[in-house]
């Protein structure tokens, strides 16, 4: 019997095909929505888990290549599974597993026809994201990229009967396409006019470019992928599209789709381009810092929980860009160990963000289902009615706030380590810039924690702000499975950093030729450079924290218990406390709004002291929308009004245009 060897890429390709097939099955089953929920989504989840396992398997393998018998003449479709794609497949599969399980419960109330379409779009979305990650030529990449944009557009506009959602979808589609054009142009520059066969990534790797053309390709890629990732100033679609989409879709878009943009950017910068210039790194670093601070400040003043999370995604994308920028700078100056450190931090953070942001988004989905409310000002006290959601979300919130021993801490810690270890670059300007950047990162991280306190405190703690909240029900079993999976991933990623860093070494070795290495410090301690300088062991940390806490509890319990006399708490002179007296989302964000006032365009409507029915209305808008996008819009409008001058609505006139053009061309050309 011949031995048939199966490569990881075959498995991955099979999973993509099965996902597409599942989507079609979902469409065919639209008459029985319960079947879609019980069969299609759980099967999709199983495939996602398999994909993550395939990624883990492929991480240590040599790159696999597959050429499909499809595509253009002279350019068949190429797929390639190397450590970088394998890492992002793990990210995609791991996140999608939780989200798909959750979707099986979340969508069960949806009507059959809509659900059939949704399941098709959902699985196509997953399949196209996997194809983006696997693509090995520009054509395949763009096809997958556009199918990803289109399928997610239809997912965003699931509730297309609401005009605001249609508007959000349009904005998303517009920016996605502008970005796609830039990406296509970037590939065009890298292909350097060598004919259609040069559109494979292999040919691009081999094509030497001058530093000018490399920079052009790099800037186009930065713009194109930045538009998808939500980098300032192309971020405007994010806070519109994420609240509009159903929660599992927001989870996938924020957790995974933004990461495909990061993937594409890494692929172009470190894999396809071989020239790197120091100012690229500075540019990316500066953009990342701006994006991070901007995102977190806006997250702090939001009242809508999904908008808050969307702005927090912008912040995290900013952090990722900072990591990439730092990597480029170190790489250019030949400090490859440090470059490997910051790249590891970047990759680690994208993995973490995928898990905790999806967790938070699907958690808001459960809240939305239970209460029908997205505005945090009308929520509160839900910890008593929704314990499963509350506990899992607490884990997510602690992770995103960057508290040890959860996963968010490690990646931010690694990133800060990269900053702290940086002195000694041969460029004095950058040397001065980097400590400032580190301070900004620390600010963003601290503000992120503040935002998360607000998010969790307003929604789950305190009293019910509306009477209807007392009837809120907890998430169903499928939803709990999804929540628990993502939450435990946050814990595992937080407790086993050594393992993760070892795995990430395959990726950094491929891109930078050097891994972080962690051989000396054993499996308990992460020591990015030297155990003497900095190390961190989440397990010891957890044990220490648990020890201190249990000792304290024991002491309190044994020595003070019984000596406590119970009296009514001091009520500040207000004996009648109502739910409306609690701090609101608005109030919690107010200090930030004051501090960073120039960032916002604030509209406020204050009630007069004599008002019988006092109303307060406050809105903080994004200035970029008004100063960048509206002028562009006006310009386009006035340009298009010029073209309406030659539009008369008469077919004869149009025919006359054709006729005259033809005659003129015939006569003069």
């Amino acid at each position: 019997m011949n031995e048939i060897s199966v490569l990881p890429i075959d498995v991955a390709g099979g999973i993509i095909l099965l996902w597409i097939a599942l989507g079609l099955i979902g469409l065919a089953l639209q008459r029985s929505p319960s079947m879609i929920c019980r069969l299609v989504f759980p099967l999709g989840a199983a495939l996602a888990l398999l994909l993550a396992a395939t990624g883990l398997w492929a991480l240590a393998e040599t790159p696999n290549i597959a050429v499909l018998p499809l595509g253009l003449p002279d350019l068949p479709l190429h797929l390639r599974l190397d450590p970088l794609s394998a890492f992002f497949l793990i990210l995609l599969g791991g996140t999608a597993f939780g989200v798909s399980l959750y979707s099986a419960g979340y969508f069960k109330t949806m009507a059959g026809g809509m659900l059939g379409l949704l399941s098709l779009e959902y699985h196509l979305f997953l399949a196209s994201m996997a194809l983006v990650i696997l693509a090995d030529d520009a054509y395949m990449f763009m096809v997958a990229w556009e199918s990803m944009a289109l399928s997610s557009y239809f997912l965003v506009t699931t509730d297309h009967k609401i005009p605001d959602i249609r508007r959000a979808g349009f904005l998303y589609l517009l920016i996605a396409h502008v970005g796609a054009i830039a990406i296509l142009l970037s590939f065009g520059v890298m292909q350097a006019g060598h004919g259609i066969a040069a559109y494979t990534f292999d040919a691009m790797r081999a094509t030497p470019l001058s530093s000018f053309w490399s920079s052009v390709a790099f800037l186009l890629a930065l713009f194109g992928f930045g538009a998808k990732a939500g980098v300032l100033p192309m971020h405007v679609w994010l806070p519109e599209a994420h609240p509009a989409a159903p929660s599992p879709v927001s989870a996938l878009m924020s957790g995974v789709m933004l990461k495909t943009a990061i993937y594409g950017f890494l692929r172009v910068t470190f894999d396809l381009l071989d020239v790197h210039l120091w100012w690229w790194g500075v540019l990316v670093l500066a953009l990342g810092l701006l994006t991070a601070v901007f995102g977190v400040i806006f997250a702090a003043v939001q009242g809508d929980m999904k908008r808050l999370l969307a702005y927090s995604s912008i912040e995290n994308i900013g952090l990722l860009l900072v990591g990439i920028g730092l990597t480029i700078i170190f790489h250019v100056y030949g400090k490859n160990a440090l470059a490997a450190l910051s790249l590891t931090a970047t990759l680690y953070h994208s993995l973490n963000h995928a898990f905790f942001k999806s967790l938070l988004f699907i958690g808001t989905g459960s809240i939305l289902h239970a209460t029908g409310e997205r505005n945090m000002g009308r929520l509160g006290g839900l910890i008593r009615r929704m314990p499963w959601v509350a506990v899992t979300l607490l884990i997510g919130v602690l992770s995103i706030a960057g508290l040890p021993p959860f996963n968010g801490f490690i990646s931010e810690w690694l990133l800060l380590q990269a900053f702290l270890l940086s002195p000694g670059l041969p460029n004095t300007h950058i040397n001065m810039l980097i400590p400032v950047a580190a301070a900004v990162i620390a600010l963003a991280a601290a503000l992120a924690a503040y935002v998360m306190v607000k998010f969790y405190g307003i929604i789950f703690l305190g009293q019910f702000r509306e009477p209807g909240l007392a009837d809120a029900h907890d998430a169903g079993w499928w939803e709990r499975l999804g929540l628990v999976w993502l939450a435990s991933a946050c814990i595992v990623l937080g407790l086993a950093p050594v393992y993760v860093v070892q795995k990430l070494d395959f990726v950094t070795k491929m891109l930078l030729g050097q891994g972080l290495g962690n051989s000396t410090s054993g499996w308990l301690f992460v020591a990015p450079v030297d155990i003497e300088r900095a190390s961190y062991s989440p397990v010891y940390f957890l044990l220490a924290v648990l020890g201190v806490m249990s000792v304290t509890a024991w002491v309190v319990h044994h020595y003070y218990h019984g000596r406590v006399s119970r009296v009514p708490a001091w009520d500040c002179g207000f004996p009648a406390q109502t739910a409306r007296m609690q701090d609101t989302a608005e109030g919690f964000g107010q200090p930030i709004r004051r501090l960073f006032e120039p960032f916002f365009k604030i509209e406020r409507e204050m009630p007069s002291p004599f008002d019988v029915h006092p109303r307060y209305h406050g809105q903080s808008d994004d200035k970029i929308w008004f100063f960048l996008y509206l002028p562009i819009k006006l310009m386009v409008q006035s340009l298009s009004s010029w073209t309406s001058l030659i539009q008369h609505g008469r077919i004869h006139v149009y025919l006359l245009y054709t006729f005259v053009t033809l005659i003129v061309l015939l006569a003069f050309v």
Partner: protein, 220 residues
């Protein structure tokens, strides 16, 4: 049949084609317009057949057959049926009066002959004198689309424009590859179907097939 004779025949057919194009411009009745279109298709079939015979290019026989089937039988039948269903037998209304249109047509013919003269020198086929005629019939069809008011006659203009192009292709290069021709034939057929559907829609919306009503669709 000698080469000289076949060249003579093709030239004769080309002349008839041009004549028909003029006849279509001057025709006021919609039914006769369609009959003229069918006749044009028939002439085209014959000329393609003669080119095929004289140059021994077998695939041109297929295109001739295709032309016969599609442009002489199917499309006129479709248009006739449409007219019966829509109950329209009116006289064709024109935007510019017919003598003026004819004068413009003559100018166009002179223009295209003048234009085609240098191209014909390059072509070495038996049919090289015909590019001018083909170009002229294309332009004349376009002129017809320009000057007619009703949607049906515009469609006939469109179809006869395609005839002119086809004639140009056979006369200048012995025809396009068969695949391309099949594609074009299919396109024309589909286009006619779509036009048919549009007629019904237009009539339903405006109670008339006069396309000047469509100006109201434009919003200001």
């Amino acid at each position: 049949m000698s080469l000289a004779l076949s060249t003579q025949i093709i030239n004769l057919l080309a002349a008839i084609l041009l004549l028909i194009a003029f006849a279509m411009i001057s025709q006021r009745r919609i039914l006769s317009l369609i009959n003229l279109f069918a006749l044009q298709g028939f002439i085209l079939t014959m000329s393609t057949g003669v080119v095929a015979y004289s140059t021994a290019q077998h695939h041109l026989y297929y295109s001739a057959g295709l032309t016969l089937l599609l442009k002489v039988l199917v499309l006129p039948w479709l248009l006739h049926r449409l007219i019966r269903k829509l109950k329209i037998k009116w006289d064709v209304e024109t935007l510019i009066n017919i003598p003026t249109t004819m004068l413009a047509g003559i100018v166009l013919v002179i223009f295209s002959f003048d234009l085609a003269a240098p191209i014909s020198q390059l072509s070495d086929s038996v049919t090289r004198g015909l590019i001018g005629i083909a170009l002229a019939s294309v332009l004349l069809s376009l002129l017809m689309m320009l000057t007619r008011r009703k949607a049906v006659s515009q469609v006939v203009g469109f179809l006869s424009l395609e005839n002119g192009l086809f004639f140009a292709a056979t006369s200048a290069t012995h025809g396009m590859p068969l695949v391309v021709e099949l594609g074009i034939a299919l396109d024309v057929l589909v286009a006619t179907f779509i036009f048919g559907i549009f007629f019904f829609q237009i009539r339903e919306t405006f109670d008339s097939l006069d396309i000047s009503h469509m100006e109201t669709l434009k919003d200001d």
